[in-house]
Symmetry: C2
Subunit: 186 residues, 2 copies
Amino acid sequence: MIVEILDAAWEIARTDGLAGLSLRDLAAKIGMRPPSLYWYFDSKLAIYDAMFVQGNKQLLARITEQEWPADPREALRVGARLFVDFSMEDVQRYQLLFLRTIPNFEPSADAYAVAMQVYEQMRDRFAAAGLGGPTAFDIWTALVSGLSAQQIANDPAGDRWLRLIDEVVDMYIDHVTAPPKRRKDS
Amino acid sequence: MIVEILDAAWEIARTDGLAGLSLRDLAAKIGMRPPSLYWYFDSKLAIYDAMFVQGNKQLLARITEQEWPADPREALRVGARLFVDFSMEDVQRYQLLFLRTIPNFEPSADAYAVAMQVYEQMRDRFAAAGLGGPTAFDIWTALVSGLSAQQIANDPAGDRWLRLIDEVVDMYIDHVTAPPKRRKDS
DNA sequence: GTCTATACATCGATAGAC
DNA sequence: GTCTATCGATGTATAGAC
C-alpha cells in the first residue's frame, strides 16, 4: 500500500509541482480519505521523506546496474550521462533530491544515510578510476551538477548541455592528468 | 511603498522560505491589512514577479559596477566569483531567479526581459574577452552554475566550492585556448 | 489609500466510530 | 485499516465604507 501511495504522490508532484502535493489529492487518487493516510505516514513531511529515500534508491540502483567501462574517460562520460539523464527524467525528483525547495523539509537521519550511500558510491567509483583526490572530485560534482542544472532550467526538452558532456569530460581529464603548473599566485 | 512591501517580502522569504510567503504575514510586517496590498499588486504572483525583476536588477547592477580586468583569466575569475557570491548571499533570491520552484509562477514578459539583459550582459562580456563562441559560453555557464549549486546545496556557510574557482577557471582557459585535438570519435 | 468585514477554498491533522 | 465528522488555521481575494 505504501508503494501505491508513493506512486500516486510522485504522479501528483509531476503535474502540480512538488510543493503542490496535498493529502486530499493524494488520498483521492488512490480512492482513500485523507485521514487514512495517517495510518501509513505520521505527517506530510514523512511522505516527502519516503519519496526522498525512494528517489535516492532509484539513483543508487542505476549506479549499481550500470556497466562501467574500464577506461576512465569513458567511465566519466557514462557517469555524467547517467546523472544528467536521471535528473532530466523527473524534474520534481531532481528538486526533492538535490535542491532544498520544500519549506521545513529536511531528510531524516535514515533518509540522509541513503543519500550518503549515493555520494559514496560515486566517489568510490571516481577514485577507482584513479582520477585524483577530494578536490578533483568536488570539481567533478560541480561539472555534472552544472550541466544538469543548466539543461533542466534552460532547455528541459532538448540536449543543449547534454551534448556538451564529451567535451567537458575531455576538458576535465586534460586538467587532472596535466602536470601541475606554476601559477603566478602560487 | 512598493519598495517597503518588497523589502518585507524578501525578509519573510528569507525566514520562511520563498514558498512560505503569505499576504497575511507580509501585510502584518508593514502594519497593513492584507487587502491593502491589492492596491499595489494585482495578485500574489505579481509580487513574485516584482521580486524577480528586483533580483535581476540587483545582479545587473553588480555586473555593471564591477571593474572588469582586461586579462581574460582574471575577468573569468571575477565573473565567477561575482555570480557565486551573489547566489550565496541570498538563497531564496537564487531560487526565485534561477530555479523554477514556485508552482504557477513564471516571469511576465517584462520580467523575463530583465533576465535576458543579465544573460546578454554576461555573454557580451564573455565574448569581449575573446573566449570563443556559443558552445564555449554554454560550458562556461554550466561551470559557474555548478559551482553555485554545489556550494549552496552542500556547504552553504563555507567555501568548499567557492575556493575552487581559480582552478576551474584555469582548467577552462586551458581547454578553450588549446589547439583542437583529434578524438577517436571524430 | 487604507480599512472592516467577509467570502470561500484549501490545508494538515485529530477524535472516535466501525 | 478505513471511515465520518470536524477542528482550527491559513490562504487569496473581493465588496464596499471611510
